[in-house]
């Protein structure tokens, strides 16, 4: 039986899980927002990674066929997306129950209760199909795919269309319901959900319009057209393989927990590793010539030096202030009333960088308002803010000993194109044009990857097996 290893990185903003095989290849990834109940966040990330790993196994199994038939690939990726929607739906129902419950306990007047419940129902009716559509047609794009973010956005949209007087009661009910719904542990049944997803997918293809002109919300591509032509045949051919991976027993041999919340994970002490070690080990595994790793996470920035084995030789991290970390960007996005994902692309439009002090997040917010009053363009202010973050990181890198030959950037912030732009610029300015700079698409998963790799290597380190299996069921 194949052996798999799990790494869970419980960060301050997001929780990530990675599953690797015995060749250190990533076969499963899971990510969710970190929430009050850390164990639930870790469970969700882990379950998602295991589900994703099943689809990876399926793809691997059908590697040769997929090469010849791109419609197979399309079917599998569509199925995975719809499968995610099925999970989403289960949690959405929980949220619905929670909203009703809150409403009944919060409003004592039966008439008021019924009125609010009526609005809640109509809100749900309005947004549910749009979310379904987004999942089915892969329209979530670069937006956050976390349950809380998706539903919050839609709920807010709907509430904003209603009378102002309803804003407060509806938002109060929301605030009191979202956390319990999000923190509830849900056991998903993979075979059941995958079957539902297959049915849903059949429905989708059956009802697909013939051309893009008939429905502009559907992005037709070559693969979709190909699949549309012989959907039933593809579906039937793959059914047997899907059944097989649905029932596959996933033997997780060992695991490592890391990240800011690692001490709270229900893992034995020996299975806990610092995120500094994990990020470095993960980054080094993907880019073996890396000697310097920069990780910008939610609330800390770490400059790490590694040796040729990927082991940390020294590190420096921000101490008394989280300015310059992911949270700083989140705060700025809130101040500007734009989403976190729009921040980087907007900063990329900067024609110049306005000089901004990076030592304090809150002061930077005040500076931002002042600069806006002075007539500076948002793009240029954001350009300056992004540069300020990197200037801070550069100082940390210098403290840690500088950049040697190859440099790898990890963490959630590595997805921000403006951060990458200024980092590249400043690393080259400071350490020379021949420094190789690596940023992997999986940069946010590096800590979890490093954790999984340690799990594979530390297997002989006398680990308490019983305790482990207890949390892996």
């Amino acid at each position: 039986m194949s052996k798999y290893y799990l790494g869970v990185d419980l960060g301050s903003t997001t929780s990530k899980a990675v599953i690797i095989n015995e060749q250190d290849e990533i076969i499963g990834r899971g990510i969710t927002n970190t929430r009050a109940n850390y164990a639930v966040a870790a469970d969700i990330a882990r379950d998602e990674a295991i589900f994703n790993a099943r689809f990876s196994v399926l793809r691997k199994k059908l590697e040769a066929e997929i090469q010849a038939k791109p419609e197979y690939r399309k079917y599998i990726s569509d199925l995975e997306s719809v499968f995610q929607y099925e999970q989403f739906k289960v949690r959405l129902d929980k949220l619905g129950d929670e909203l009703l419950k809150t409403c009944r306990t919060f409003f004592h007047d039966p008439q008021k209760q019924e009125e609010i419940i009526g609005y809640l129902r109509s809100i749900r009716r309005a947004f549910k199909p749009t979310i379904k559509h987004d999942y089915l047609y892969n329209n979530l794009g670069a937006r956050s795919q976390f349950f809380r973010d998706i539903v919050s956005e839609k709920y807010n949209e709907q509430v904003n269309q209603l009378d102002m007087a309803l804003f407060e009661p509806l938002m109060t009910v929301w605030d009191k319901s979202i956390s319990p719904a999000e923190n509830e542990r849900i056991q998903f049944n993979f075979p059941e959900l995958v079957h539902k997803a297959m049915e849903e997918l059949k429905e989708k293809y059956r009802n697909l319009p013939d051309t893009a002109a008939e429905d502009t919300s559907v992005n037709f591509d070559a693969e979709m057209n190909l699949l549309k032509g012989n959907f039933d045949q593809v579906s039937e051919t793959l059914r047997e393989h899907i059944e097989e991976i649905a029932l596959l027993e996933f033997n997780i041999t060992n695991m490592t927990g890391t990240g800011y919340g690692r001490a709270l994970l229900p893992f034995p002490q020996d299975c806990i590793r610092s995120e500094i070690l994990c990020h470095a080990f993960g980054a080094h595994a993907i880019f073996p010539d890396t000697r310097t790793v920069l990780d910008i996470g939610g609330q800390d920035t770490k400059a790490i030096q590694v040796d040729r084995y990927g082991l940390v030789t020294s590190f420096q991290m921000n101490d008394r202030c989280a300015a310059g970390c992911g949270r700083y960007l989140g705060y700025i996005a809130d101040e500007m009333s734009i989403s976190l994902n729009e921040l980087g692309p907007m900063a990329m439009q900067a024609e110049k960088e306005v000089n901004i002090c990076s030592t304090c997040t809150v002061f930077a917010g005040a500076e931002l308002r002042e600069l806006t009053n002075l007539g500076e363009k948002r793009e240029d202010i954001l350009g300056g803010l992004h540069k300020a973050i990197i200037m801070r990181a550069m100082s940390l890198i210098a403290r840690s000993g500088g950049v040697f030959n190859e440099f790898t950037f990890t963490g959630g912030v590595a997805r921000n194109p403006a951060v990458v732009k200024y980092l590249t610029q400043l690393v080259r300015e400071n350490y020379g044009d021949d420094i190789r700079i690596n940023i992997h698409t999986d940069s946010i998963f590096m800590g979890a990857l490093g954790g999984a790799m340690f799990a594979r290597r530390n297997i002989n380190a006398a680990l308490p097996v019983e305790k482990k299996s207890a949390v892996l069921t």
Binding site: L277, Y309, F315
Partner: protein, 433 residues
């Protein structure tokens, strides 16, 4: 917060406690005992000379660190800040000033007497100068004797520097002592004391060097700060100090014989997992919690530079009864705080190698401008020269606002895991650790 249990005490600890109790009691009765009081500093102190005039020394840094350990420093610092001391000023200074503002009550709860003399014998730290300028204003009319110790910029002590210092002792310091006490300088008495000094110094070196053993019978930092207590303060050159070190030496020998690990507040350390060399003073406000982070994982400090700030003895220097004033001069110039950065790097490198350390760790002090400067360079050099893994944490001497337990624990945990993981992976790679 860490769970702190009652400390386990050895005989030498009790002996030291009694010595200190008597010292503070004598201080509180200085007038009654007709003894003159001199305020002075630990690095480059002239304890034998002070004692040879029957004066009682007070060390403001020691009072500050004691206040820190007794959780008093926070209010003292606050009071000093209230009268205008900036947040960035050395917290030893602020704590000391705050203590004086609050009635000058010493660590034993007894009042400390005002100084009859301010002896500024500063080594390496420029804040000492400013500190005593402030004390001079707090105690108007009290004479000040200044002994200037040349910094070892070129990394060596020249005969001219020794002459320069001896000249100051003869022309500035001793005449002031004579003037304040009304006594004549007694060179024979000073020489006699130096014999005790050398005896204690020999023993201290043997005690600290016992950490070269694997596993080490002592922690040369967390316990080391207690071991240096008598010799760094009011007791160098006394018979009691020599007795204390004899007792301590026997205790350590006994530990070696029994194969015991370092003593911690919760008993013997069972397994030595990591051997570290440490640079920088410990944090005093959370000393026990800080120590616990180390002993809980079996991390032993086998050598530290902080235990050399009041004198570097392991490179051969001893006080010499045959040339008492010259040896005082050499002692002052040889203190760790008076060494230049390359000398500090060389010393640490020798510690890492001779004590077979797995790592080198720096506790950088937020409010110490004199000694935090250069530490990153030291760290890089040690990493390059020895190949051991290096770590860097930040806290403060006595300002509890700068001790963040969670942050320090997180960094240290990462650091210990770095050391542990290296052992595992290198073994798998077949590389000798």
């Amino acid at each position: 917060m860490a769970d702190i249990k009652d400390a386990v005490k050895e005989r030498s600890m009790i002996l030291q406690k009694d010595m200190l109790a008597k010292q503070f009691n004598d201080l509180s009765r200085a007038q009654e005992l007709k003894k003159k009081v001199v305020y002075t500093f630990v690095p480059g102190n002239l304890t034998e000379l002070i004692l040879s005039f029957d004066m009682l020394p007070v060390y403001p840094e020691i009072n500050a660190l004691q206040s820190g350990m007794r959780k008093k420093s926070s209010e003292f610092i606050r009071d000093a800040e209230k009268i205008g001391y900036s947040e960035d000023v050395c917290t030893y200074v602020k704590c000391d000033i705050g203590m004086m503002l609050n009635g000058n009550i010493g660590p034993t709860g007894e009042k400390l007497p005002p100084p009859d003399l301010l002896l500024l014998s500063y080594t390496g730290c420029f804040t000492f100068l400013k500190w005593f300028e402030n004390l001079e204003r707090l105690y108007p009319g009290v004479p000040v004797a200044m002994l200037h110790t040349p910094y070892q910029e070129d990394g060596k002590i020249t005969p001219e520097q020794v002459d320069y210092m001896v000249k100051q002792l003869k022309e500035e310091v001793i005449p002031k002592f004579e003037q304040v006490t009304g006594k004549k300088f007694d060179p024979d008495r000073l020489s006699k004391m130096m014999e005790y000094s050398a005896q204690s110094e020999d023993l201290l070196v043997k005690i600290l060097e016992s950490a070269k053993r694997k596993p080490s019978p002592i922690d040369a930092y967390f316990a080391g700060v207690y071991y240096i207590g008598p010799i760094f303060t009011a007791f160098r050159g006394t018979e009691e100090a020599a007795q204390y070190y004899t007792e301590l030496y026997h205790e350590v020998q006994e530990r070696i014989r029994l194969g015991l690990g370092p003593i911690t507040p919760e008993g013997e350390m069972k397994e030595e997992k990591f051997r570290l060399v440490m640079e920088g003073p410990p944090n005093w406000t959370n000393f026990r919690e800080f120590w616990k982070i180390f002993y809980d994982v079996g991390a032993v400090i086998v050598a530290s530079t902080y235990t050399k700030v009041g004198g570097v003895y392991d490179t051969g220097f001893r006080h010499n009864p045959d040339e008492p004033l010259e040896s005082l001069a050499k002692y002052c110039m040889g203190c760790y705080t008076n060494l230049n950065l390359p000398q500090r790097v060389d010393l640490i490198e020798s510690y890492v190698k001779n004590y077979r350390a797995d790592g080198f760790l720096i506790n950088s002090i937020k409010s110490c401008n004199s000694f935090s400067a250069g530490q990153l360079m030291i760290m890089r050099q040690i990493e390059q020269r020895t190949g051991v893994q290096v770590g860097f944490i930040e806290s403060d001497l006595v300002d509890p606002r700068y001790f963040s337990y969670a942050n320090i624990k997180n960094r240290l945990e990462s650091y210990f895991q770095m050391l542990e993981q290296r052992k595992i992976i290198l073994e798998q790679q077949g590389v000798a650790v």
